[in-house]
Symmetry: D2
Subunit: 347 residues, 4 copies
């Protein structure tokens, strides 16, 4: 990925002890917004401790933009973020806020931040959360720096978003279990995984599980692969298989698909499993913790550098900064390599 | 549990080296039947090796009674069951067979066993599988000994059935993940777990997860608890909770229930998760492996003792034998202790 | 197990709503002592909530008897024990206290309890912890009720101790991983598991992992099995195997044993793995949570019944009460059944 | 990472159906060599199926170079690699071979490959394995293509080696458990992780676990951090902490270190845990399976392209080819970013 808008930050000079102080910044806020993702707590911990190491005070804003409007704030000390790096979910909770979409809501939020003496804010979330931050920073004199936290991994300008890798492994672990039953009974399982607009999670989990067919919104030709697979099953006893279906593949999802297949192939034993929310929780993987930590430190660093309206990302292993304006354009780029591999390995 | 029909076998005398031989028994069959359950492979391994240790030959019958009818047999040597104790599912596969319910089907099965020289059979499955064995052994001169393998733990005469404990832990692990999201968002999750006629899995997993409400077919008063819980939520912000719903609690399951709740409490954020087949697979827990091993050895022991039409069970930690006739009367006894505990701990 | 000293409590009458109140008992203490065990938090939660449900106040005593002496107390409300049922370790911490073994130490502890208005105490720990409680209750007018919490499962009068099952599964999970390498390289692994005086954990984990040899303090004949196994390996290529060694099997443990084997069999590739503290932590299994919860509720129940110097246990699935005097006689009874099974399945 | 020697392969043209055939290549061999690593089976599966998809025959060479010398070969069909993607270890086993280091050994190996009609070979292993392949390909007319499979992630020219990520997560999971006990008892744990010459695994797992101190061969200044941490503990009650120690940090490892600390700080409760071989096994993570699959396909692709003496790697997410000559120069480059982060977050 080559993104001209990014700055490679690996060369950023630091003072001798790695700490930097700016006279003007005294207190920052941090919050999580949108869907929860494993690793958000690791990011909260890193933001908090990096800020404290740089002599900043930290305020946790609970329940996203709604909590900002309501002034649902708690002070965060170093000990408050102890022992949370391995926990799923978010200790600051999260919520969706209709009120924040109105000018009145944002004015209330601004007042609350003012009253609390918060000079700048780190927002951990997805594209919707960054859009909100961008809007507010254009209306009021407040800096936002973002950290991409979403299991969808659909943010432009970063190879990683916090939580995606954990979700991927949760899917793989669940499908490994379902495979036991599929093989034992000679059944075909339609497993529906998250991904309304993108098949990234479906495609990667399908490769990792050795799925026989993977259906994703990006490629309709996969339905031919399904047809071929089912026709083959018709002629063989004991045919079993895993079909991974991205939520957004077609209306009705895996349930509808299974219904259709049962009509055309009444001889096959077809079952459905909708993984749902077990994909979202759980203890984060090592990389989700490490990347969340790196991005949390970099977010504080950016605020100390007087940056605003940028998201911290990781590109080719390095910390980069991406303007919100660019990041919020969802990244649905799609690499056909895995699809070709899938096709080749399941003939 | 005191079952007069059981024999306590812990005192069974054995020859000096623990091995016993009977001149008449030369080859046994073993198969799995009904739904697959984690630990079935551990039982297959134990049956095979215990038989070989007693100089018997072992034939694996694939795909349950259907495979028996079709003569889908494979020889099992010691090395064939090496490295399978930790695998979910069943290497012998399983299937349901309509044909076996007909006299013609059973006659074919009998011919196949005769042709293969199989003198006696170990059947690993649930009450339906034992009923089939009982019927056939009344029609033909063939001995069956059963091992209870079902994640439902609903067999009379045994405290354990293979797979139940693994399923219980799979549910608990999944709900732990869902709890992360429930708490982060202030949501109420309706989690549907297996159990069409019995709430055992729901009740135990609910206690283990600290569920706020547990709905089971055995007790309708729990719906009052749900009502109280939801009414309380109405008055509080950030209310989150887990409601465990046994499949058989009422028509429509968790989906229907959530619909009703959303009508009455539009202010609550209610989501549904149907755990489905992830409850069935996976590597068996230590106890499921150990109990499967013990029962596998005891099943071969029973055949060597010229027993027939009995199921091996575990009662108060000891191996017992239960006549098929008794075992197939499903055990829906239900201990109110856990329900009382649930009520007390969630006030 | 038949223990005349136990009372079967399943028939205990309760008032209509399951709650009982005694005028005299107003505040109880609860603490964990000795080695930490997964499930202790589930017990703390159950004690706290069952007490509150019965209108009692609850004080958490931190760091065991040492914290009692120092008055390291915290109030426990229902919300303080929310979200802890799935956590390993103990939120009240634990410690060993030399001072408590002196009359002066116990007097200080008594004063602290008096000052805090604590009328009775629930102690969660092993035999050492119960001995301390017994001594103190003989010297001062304070009631103790115990809950067995130790991964060693060596307490007389109960089939379960909190944490044992989790530890067993942790060992099995670790050995499953080691087996991958053992088989891939044709190596023999000596895996040392906890158990200084008893081989219970070693024997059960060995059966569950299909270990080739299991060495436990209770049976020296297993060393012959090791010899036979190694001699066989001498004649075969690609020989791999898992030897489970209980800590207490012999001086020097697995390291010393491996050294000896390497001397006698330089042709074998022998490695050692000492599982150590990974056996002790982690999220408790479903049963450890459920049994901890049941025993926590029963402990409060016993205090309300004016009981003292008894341990809550589980016998044949039912809650029982066992006098401390009996419980502290460590249970090293040993069932040869598993050893015979091991011998038979690995010939 | 910018490596001029690499070719970016994402633009490689392919025929219409993604398959390519070369008349000259008919049968390839595949083997695993050196230490086993989770994901090797996924690579074996990908190589086998990609080769078959391209009309090649595949021979599995068992037990590395030693098996090559002995002609320990098995044919691999598509079904032989079914159901192995999720298994740790290697179904082809692995071994070290002294004989292969001699010209006589390599001549025997060459003869065996000739006799079996093997035209080219895919070697899955580390730098030692590639060196062997390079030597042999210089002496005989046989092409080798390598896939980096080692949990050490120390190969030059690739961001990933198969197995490293799984090992990292195994360490993190183990330390999470140990943390339960450390906190409960107020203890300091010295946890020794793999890494004789490099601290990569130690540094990353330490960040992911929130370790208080991380000791690695690359940076001696960390010993000052340890000293400061211990001195602080001296003044506080209930001090607990995790110190991650890379094997190669200093002679004697964690055991020796703990001894020294106990001498200087007798007031601290210091324990040691050597994770050992549990780091090596287990089911591979999603990424280890995906990357192994991608590299397996790319290795066959390279042989079809008439490439030799190159290793397949992944650089910035893309498949690259790296000459063996470069890859075998171990990559001990070391990024100070994580070390700075660790320092900042644990003040």
């Amino acid at each position: 990925m080559t993104i001209s808008a990014m700055r490679d930050l690996s060369m950023t000079p630091a003072t001798e002890n790695g700490l930097r102080r700016k006279p003007i910044l005294r207190k920052i806020g941090v919050f999580t917004s949108g869907g929860d993702a494993p690793g958000m707590n690791a990011a909260i911990r890193a933001v908090t401790r990096a800020a404290i190491a740089n002599k900043l005070k930290v305020t946790g804003i609970r329940r996203g933009y709604q909590g900002m409007i309501e002034g649902d704030f708690i002070p965060l000390r170093s000990s408050d973020v102890s022992g949370i790096i391995q926990l799923g979910g978010t200790i600051l909770r999260t919520a969706r806020s209709k009120e924040f979409r109105t000018p009145e809501g944002r004015e209330k939020a601004w007042q609350q931040l003012q009253n609390a003496g918060i000079d700048a804010v780190v927002v951990i979330g997805g594209d919707g959360s960054f859009t909100g931050a961008l809007t507010m920073s254009q209306e009021y004199n407040i800096s936002f720096v973002g950290i991409p936290g979403t299991i969808d991994n659909d943010i432009y300008g970063t190879d990683y978003t916090i939580g995606y890798e954990t979700a991927l492994n949760s899917v793989v672990c669940a499908v490994d279990k379902i495979r036991d039953t599929a093989v034992s009974h000679g059944r075909i399982f339609m497993v529906e995984v998250m991904g309304r607009e993108a098949g990234l999670l479906a495609l990667n989990s399908g490769i990792a599980c050795g799925a026989e067919v993977i259906l994703i919104p990006e490629s309709k030709e996969q339905h031919d692969a399904l047809k071929r697979f089912l026709d083959k099953g018709y002629k063989r006893k004991e045919r079993s298989g895993i079909v991974i279906v991205a939520e957004g593949d077609e209306p009705g999802g895996a349930l509808k698909l299974a219904e259709n297949v049962r009509c055309e192939h009444p001889e096959l034993d077809v079952r459905v499993s909708i993984l749902g929310h077990i994909q979202r929780g759980g203890s984060p993987t090592a990389n989700d913790r490490i990347n969340a930590t790196r991005m949390g430190v970099a977010a504080v660093d950016a605020l100390l550098d007087d940056q605003k309206s940028i998201m911290i990302g990781i590109d080719n292993g390095r910390i980069v900064q991406v303007p919100f304006n660019k990041a919020v354009k969802l990244n649905h780029s799609f690499d056909r390599e895995l699809l070709e591999i899938q096709k080749m390995l399941n003939i």
